[in-house]
């Protein structure tokens, strides 16, 4: 480092000035490089968030032949089927979000109060991480296999305990069933999202409140509550959107009668009555075929075989060469492959 102590303040030597300007230049260059590194991220966001949203938004205001119209949107407010669907979706999302937020929040609080390095905390967090992602068709199948008409619990209660409690399993295929199933993944999601905020609450704040004569209620009213409120409301909103936009679980559970918005959307796209949506219908039919296949727990050898070979080769080769490859190159390679796959998927759906 150049010794500048001999020079007068505010008059940098030529050497340091040169260094300063050179540093600024390289900083600018580094900044530009950082933005370049963000290009894959922006491309990803554009392809998967902005472009689909734009396609949906434009499509909502155009006819099948591409003419501008407001009829599609006005039907949302006039057609009773759509109004009912929105009402049920909102009921479902609100009830599961509130139930998930309250139960998950209390569970998170219980975890925070426990030993920070204890096995219970580790277990609950690990289990929540898994269960929060345990949604979609897998979850629907789990509930069908447990509480369906021929589910394990249903048959056990009926045939072994000889009770009529769970015999009528029709509740599972209704909105009540969806509420129960959705809450199952909302609670662990709430725990994961809310736990860091609760961890941030300091014991010292409670002690300070107490030493100033505050009660437990006044601590929560003036300190804990306001600090946690944004995180809690944010998590609540996340749970709401999570339930509102969920499709696969509802599609797997409710096969007849599209009662919520996501099922209505799928129904509209697949409907043979709507002209000009045949290709989308085909794409969705393929998806449905896969979903049905998974519900029955079947393995398709034509899919599983190539997949297993791919995994085997990938794992065998990867474990040998991964440590020799520069991670940056590997990252770029993965981004390139993912982008290529994404574009292919979009092109397939578009065609």
């Amino acid at each position: 480092m150049t010794d500048t102590s001999a020079s007068a303040p505010g008059q940098p030597t030529a050497q340091t000035a040169g260094l300063a300007s050179g540093g600024a230049g390289s900083n600018r260059f580094r900044g530009a490089r950082n933005y370049l590194a963000l290009i894959p991220f922006h491309a990803y966001i554009f392809l998967f968030l902005i472009l689909p949203t734009a396609i949906v938004a434009v499509g909502a205001f155009t006819t099948a032949s591409g003419q501008p119209t407001a009829d599609n949107v006005s039907r949302l407010f006039t057609d009773q089927t759509f109004i009912d669907a929105f009402t049920k979706s909102i009921e479902l999302a609100v009830s599961t979000a509130i139930a998930g937020a309250i139960i998950g929040g209390l569970l998170a609080w219980a975890v925070v109060r426990g030993d920070p390095n204890g096995p219970l905390r580790q277990f609950v967090i690990a289990a929540s991480g898994v269960l929060a992602q345990f949604g979609g068709v897998m979850l629907a199948f789990a509930f069908l296999a447990t509480f369906g008409f021929n589910g394990l619990a249903t048959m056990f209660v009926r045939d072994v305990l000889h009770l009529d409690v769970l015999t009528d399993a029709s509740w599972l295929y209704s909105l009540t069933g969806l509420v129960v199933v959705y809450t199952y993944f909302q609670i662990p999601l709430m725990l994961i999202v809310f736990l860091p905020s609760l961890d941030g609450l300091r014991q010292e704040w409670y002690d300070a409140s107490s030493s100033l004569g505050g009660s437990s209620w006044s601590f929560w009213r003036y300190v804990g509550g306001p600090i946690l409120a944004p995180a809690f409301l944010g998590a609540l909103l996340l749970l709401f959107t999570n339930a509102f936009s969920a499709y696969a679980t509802a599609a797997a559970l409710i096969s007849q009668g599209a009662s919520i918005v996501t099922l209505q959307i799928a129904g509209s796209l697949q409907s043979e009555v709507v002209i000009g949506q045949e290709n989308v219908g085909k794409a969705l039919a393929l998806g449905n075929a896969n979903i049905n296949c998974h519900i029955h727990g079947e393995v398709d050898p034509y899919v599983a075989g190539p997949t297993a070979i791919g995994v085997f080769l990938g794992a065998s080769i990867g474990s040998r060469v991964a440590h020799r490859i520069d991670l940056r190159i590997l990252r770029f390679l993965f981004v390139a492959v993912l982008l290529y796959t994404a574009v292919q998927m979009l092109l397939k759906v578009a065609s």
């Binding site: 050898p301 034509y302 899919v303 075989g305 070979i309 085997f312």
Partner: protein, 114 residues
């Protein structure tokens, strides 16, 4: 690592390679026959595997390979139970047996319900 563990490890590697080989043959036969992975394959019929293998049908090779892949971790659990029993750890034997029981129940239920 005991000799028992080593021999089990070797057995699992061999079974994995055999499974991969069977799957590879199945996939190559699929390619040769022009079968698309999305065309929907036949359900498992254990009695048909031998005839499928004899007539070089891809489904036979794929199903045998998949069954071998599924059997590999189960074999490992059985081996673990034996190893724990030899080492005198009854609690771990119980865990291994419980895992096997869950697998057995699921296979039996699937077989009974078709």
């Amino acid at each position: 690592m005991t000799g028992f563990d080593r021999s089990i490890g070797r057995l699992l590697i061999v079974v994995t390679y055999i499974a991969a080989l069977l799957l590879l043959v199945g996939v190559l036969l699929m390619l040769a026959s022009g079968i698309s992975p999305l065309s929907g394959g036949p359900a498992l019929d254990v009695s048909a595997i031998t005839s499928d293998l004899a007539s070089l049908q891809p489904a036979g090779f794929l199903w045998l390979g998949l069954l071998a892949v599924i059997a590999t971790p189960i074999t490992r659990v059985v081996a673990a139970a034996v190893a724990f029993a030899r080492a005198g750890e009854p609690r771990m034997v119980l865990v291994a047996v419980a895992i096997l029981a869950v697998i057995a129940i699921s296979i039996t239920t699937a077989a009974l319900t078709g």
